[in-house]
Amino acid sequence: MSTVARDPFLRRWAPELTGAAVIICGFLLIELLVRTAILNPYVVPRPSDVLLAFERIVVEEQILSRFLVTAAEAGTAAVLVALIGIPLGTLLQGVPLLRKATETWIAGMAAAPIVLIYPLFLVIFGRSPWTIIAIAVLAGLPPVAMLTLEGLSAVRPALVDTGRSFRLSRWQMFWKIMFPAALPSIFSGLRIGLIFALINVVGVEFLINFGGLGPLINELAERYDMPGTYAAICFVVFVSIIVFVVMERLEKWLRPVR
């Protein structure tokens, strides 16, 4: 502990190093449990085999180009979530009746397993990227709309009064005061919304066996390629973490001080 406190390098990276140590210990533990057959080796592959399978899924299964397909779907969904969710939240804030009428619903939708209505979109769009994107957008919208609404409602009265005293137009009031004041909250909404969208993109890909990473996991599982299946799942988890971290960094960069 005292050496950690003294060494500036250790002090700076202590949380990250601890995190990595926990993951490595977890790996080693599972490896041990599988090797001693406490965990059934036919159900859970050895972590070391999963690690080795990474090369295979990159070279033989073109996971990177499949990733780009999934990323394109998720990216389209993300843009639509922002383009629909933020104006929707703004509309709800501006029209109190609409807000009272729908707020509970939208909050409920955020908690509901939206993915279950995929058959409906399958009928409308067929087995196409649009089925995947539609469900992802539906899943990502509630948090963005809710947090936009919350952010706009929580703007301090003193800031609004300042805008009024400078005789801002409605348009200026929104863009120069309301929107920037609500931006931190809108950003939290976007971060959650985009993660919801990403989860649903991969989930629906898996369900309808169409697109990028989802069908890959299906195929590998059907071939009983357990290390490959787990490697692909790890890849998806890894990508989700990277998206989350990048969003967080972007948010910090956009508002330097709070």
Binding site: T162, R164, S165, F166, R167, P180, L183, R258
Partner: protein, 282 residues
Amino acid sequence: MNDMIRPEQIAQPPVTAPEPMLVIDHVTKRFETPDGPVVAVDNISLTVGRGEFVSIIGPSGCGKSTLFNLVGGLLSISDGTIRIDGEAINGPHKSIGMVFQEDATFPWRTVIDNVAFPLELQGMAKGERLERARHFVSLVGLHGFEKRYPAELSGGMRQRVSIARTLAAEPKLLLMDEPFAALDEQTRLLLGDKVLQIQQELNQTVLLITHNITEAVQLSDRVLIMTYRPGRTKRIALIELPRPRTSEMLSSDTFGRYVAEVWADLREEASRGMQDAERGSR
């Protein structure tokens, strides 16, 4: 003029005062509440001359902020009129600049961008507006903090940013609602000096809302003392201390007498306010 204390009521500005900039003419404000109407401001009249510094003082809850918002055009008047340069107001007037009691700096803008805000609205070119803004930032003593964000500043510095931002719009009439209330005593005194200095430099007309007697006497030409519930005019005191004034005058006898005089009027109202608060009634 030698006898500094004038016990009689003085409702008019000194004879030498120029034409009035602001006229508050028998203004009343009623709020409709579920428990019936609440009269927050009751039949108040006040005239503020150009270049004059007038304070409104009263206990908490007597209707000061209501009056501030009425003059600023943020609230509608129930009865009476408010005129600025002879023009009856109907919403925020272009000649008025407001400084609020609460922190009103924009946290997403740096100090310089906060202060440049009104200039940006006027459509001033970037280079020019930054130069003007820099001038006002220096005026409130924040030179060197231009690139900082409000979150990096103390409460007093943020309040100075608000003042600079309002000044940058060059309002003919500066309205301030307890701008120093949240600050410690030392900062409050020094900032008071700063405001006076700027007021002299820019020949600004100022209407200051306060609950602080020292502050009112230190800064003002006249002090309107409000009664508690309903908010009426109790008296308008003329403060004939020489100018330029600084916080160093606080220890003078004359200053002390003015403070005592204002307190004598305020005391009764404040104790009524306190009893009200103790009873927990509205």
